[in-house]
């Protein structure tokens, strides 16, 4: 799968790669804000913020794909992360900025407990169990007192000031003239960091081990890989990403309900990965952009929106069954 990408990556000199990264950062942090300022399409900020956050969660899903597991349960962790952040802020007065890593860590912890038994499952079994997991998260949120059940948690304050030794690093969002931009920058930074981490994992020995796991777990064990540990580790990282994304969404909507992340979201995360291409680190990011943004653009189609959207999805699948990024492979996607 990644053989081609890797060989391409290796073939490319590190300067062109650096240029690519710089161009990407430039686009995200300079061009997009400039474009929005010029055109006055301020609503794009929220859409792109969503894309960035959803692609962070999708990056987690992609990582579980990388160890050979189909994960349709990321919604559960996004929801959990959201609730952790919301509860800590509203009931314990913890700063949003502190709840962010805590939400991620809590999800990682939960995923270790859940992952230990279910990661033994493979193929469709794992996929279906994770699908169920999303429902479990929703039902749990409905049933628990601490989540305020069906009523959800609302009127959550905006992220406050973040300062270290009296030095303000991030100002209080409520005082900002343009919190949209602030949220966008925050999400974009998070996305960039996430994909950096992902890229590092894949291109380090850790990634090779993950690939060995993906291809043959028994053999992987026989060459001395602690497969159980590696699986749980990858799943925990994945869930960490999910929790982060969920927590930020809560900050944006200033509310959370058991239905804030549902099965449909989990399925979407999976689709983003497929559409971008499972063999490419940046696949989920591209997939998220295309699918999420695509839907918004299609709203001109009125009642035919879903028809066209799904039709396009199917057509894309027929033309590029290995994901959009498989366009990069000069050889084409034949077996």
């Amino acid at each position: 799968m990644t053989d081609q990408t890797q060989s391409i990556a290796q073939g490319r000199s590190s300067t062109t790669r650096l240029a690519g990264v710089l161009a990407f950062l430039l686009a995200v942090f300079v061009l997009v804000p400039a474009f929005i300022a010029l055109t006055g399409r301020w609503d794009f900020y929220y859409t792109l913020t969503s894309v960035a956050l959803l692609s962070v969660a999708a990056a987690g899903v992609w990582l579980t794909f990388y160890i050979g597991r189909i994960n349709i349960g990321q919604g559960a962790y996004a929801l959990t992360g959201g609730y952790v952040s919301a509860i800590l802020i509203t009931q314990y007065g913890v700063s949003f900025w502190l709840t962010l890593p805590l939400a991620g860590l809590f999800c990682a912890l939960v995923s270790v407990v859940i992952g230990l038994p279910i990661l033994r499952l493979r193929g469709v079994y794992f996929a279906m169990v994770t699908l169920v997991l999303t429902e479990v998260a929703r039902l749990t949120a409905l049933a628990l007192p601490v989540t305020n059940g069906a009523k959800g948690i609302t009127s959550i304050p905006l992220p406050g000031e973040l300062s270290i030794f009296g030095l303000t690093i991030i100002p209080d969002f409520a005082t900002l003239a343009n919190p949209k931009l602030a949220f966008y920058l925050m999400a974009a930074v998070l996305m960039v960091v996430t994909y950096l981490v992902l890229w590092r994992i894949v291109n380090s020995r850790l990634g090779h081990l993950c690939r060995s796991l993906q291809q043959n777990e028994e053999l992987s064990a026989s060459i001395g890989v602690n497969t159980a540990m590696l699986r749980v580790l990858a799943y925990a990282i994945s869930s960490f990403f999910g929790g982060l994304a969920g927590a930020i969404f809560v900050a944006i909507s200033q509310s959370i309900y058991p239905s804030s992340f549902v099965v449909q979201d989990s399925v979407n995360f999976m689709l983003y990965c497929f559409l971008g291409g499972l063999g490419y680190v940046f696949g989920p990011m591209l997939g998220t952009l295309l699918l999420y943004f695509g839907w918004d653009l299609l709203s001109v189609a009125k009642q035919y929106q879903l028809l066209i959207y799904s039709g396009a999805l199917i057509a894309l699948m027929l033309v590029l069954p290995n994901g959009v990024l498989s366009l990069l492979d000069r050889k084409g996607g034949r077996k």
């Binding site: 279910i118 079994y125 497929f274 559409l275 499972l278 999805l313 027929l318 069954p321 034949r334 077996k335």
Partner: protein, 289 residues
């Protein structure tokens, strides 16, 4: 007690039928058909259209559902799944396709049949009441009997017919089946059509009782997934067992846990996850299905 069992059986029969179609498609093509629930809904709407709008007898509606869905399944296999499977590097890619088809059917159903809940009048009236210990409307009994008959018919078909044998062989080893002279393309298509047809038939059967609406597709798929997980993916007996087990669990859970409110499905889900942790291939599945 009698009531719980009867409810469980009734639910189990319809669930098993739904799971059968899903597991058949899975075993033949290794495709987890996310659109199964939508096919079920489509079947329901076809029967509705034929019976409630055209005023034809119920059985005509059922047949129409079966035929329409079989044709739809065949076309989907031939023009969508087959080319994608042939060209994609990983089996899972078909999941994106299946999900796309689910969305597409959702859109088509909305445009064709509208957003409203639909239903057709009862086929038989009256309620069987045994001393208040067992209450079961006659139409449910009829539907359960029909469902069980269909299940039995399906098993006999798979076991003894030439087509059935070819499909079983195909599910176990594609290449070997080819070497036996089985036209794999043709039988894959037949299998998919059959699976879709089963989904459509259940939709048609249930439209007389539960009615049908656009929203029923997704949750139906999830339940069907549950059932084949319980029984073991790609195994026919497993699908049937899974269907009845889920039906029973639902019936028992709702009765016993009623006092605790919303927890039945939570309990079912958690039980299932524990069960799978102990037995990863379901009741009857081959390891790693």
């Amino acid at each position: 007690m009698e009531q719980i069992l009867a409810n469980g059986l009734y639910l189990g029969a319809q669930y098993a039928l739904i799971a059968l179609g899903l597991t058949l498609i899975f075993s033949l093509m290794n495709v987890l058909n996310f659109a199964h629930g939508q096919m079920y809904v489509f079947g329901g709407f076809v029967t509705y259209t034929v019976v409630a709008q055209l005023g034809l007898p119920f059985i005509v509606g059922l047949i129409a559902s079966a035929v329409v869905l079989a044709v739809m399944g065949a076309l989907i296999e031939k023009f969508l799944f087959r080319p994608v499977i042939a060209r994609s590097k990983r089996d899972e890619s078909t999941m994106l396709l299946a999900a796309g088809i689910a969305f597409f059917l959702d859109a088509v159903i909305l445009l064709l049949f509208g957003e409203k809940q639909r239903g057709v009048p009862k086929v038989v009236n009256g309620v069987f009441n045994w001393d208040m210990r067992l209450i079961m409307p006659y139409d449910r009994i009829l539907i359960a009997v029909l469902a069980i008959a269909l299940i039995v018919g399906f098993i006999l078909f798979m076991q003894y017919s030439r087509t059935g044998r070819a499909m079983r062989a195909l599910a176990q080893d594609r290449v070997a089946a080819q070497l036996m002279g089985v036209d794999v393309d043709r039988y894959s298509m037949i299998g998919f059509a059959l699976g879709a047809m089963l989904a459509g038939l259940v939709g048609g059967l249930l439209v007389t009782i539960t009615g049908i609406n656009l929203g029923m597709g997704g949750p139906t798929s999830i339940k069907a997934f549950l059932m084949i997980m319980i029984g073991g993916a790609g195994v026919i007996s497993g699908a049937i067992a899974g269907g009845f087990i889920l039906g029973m669990m639902e019936s028992i859970g709702l009765t016993l846990l009623a006092a605790y409110g919303d927890v039945t499905y939570l309990v079912i889900f958690v039980t299932l996850m524990i069960f799978l942790a102990i037995r990863p291939q379901g009741l009857m599945g081959k390891p790693w299905g």
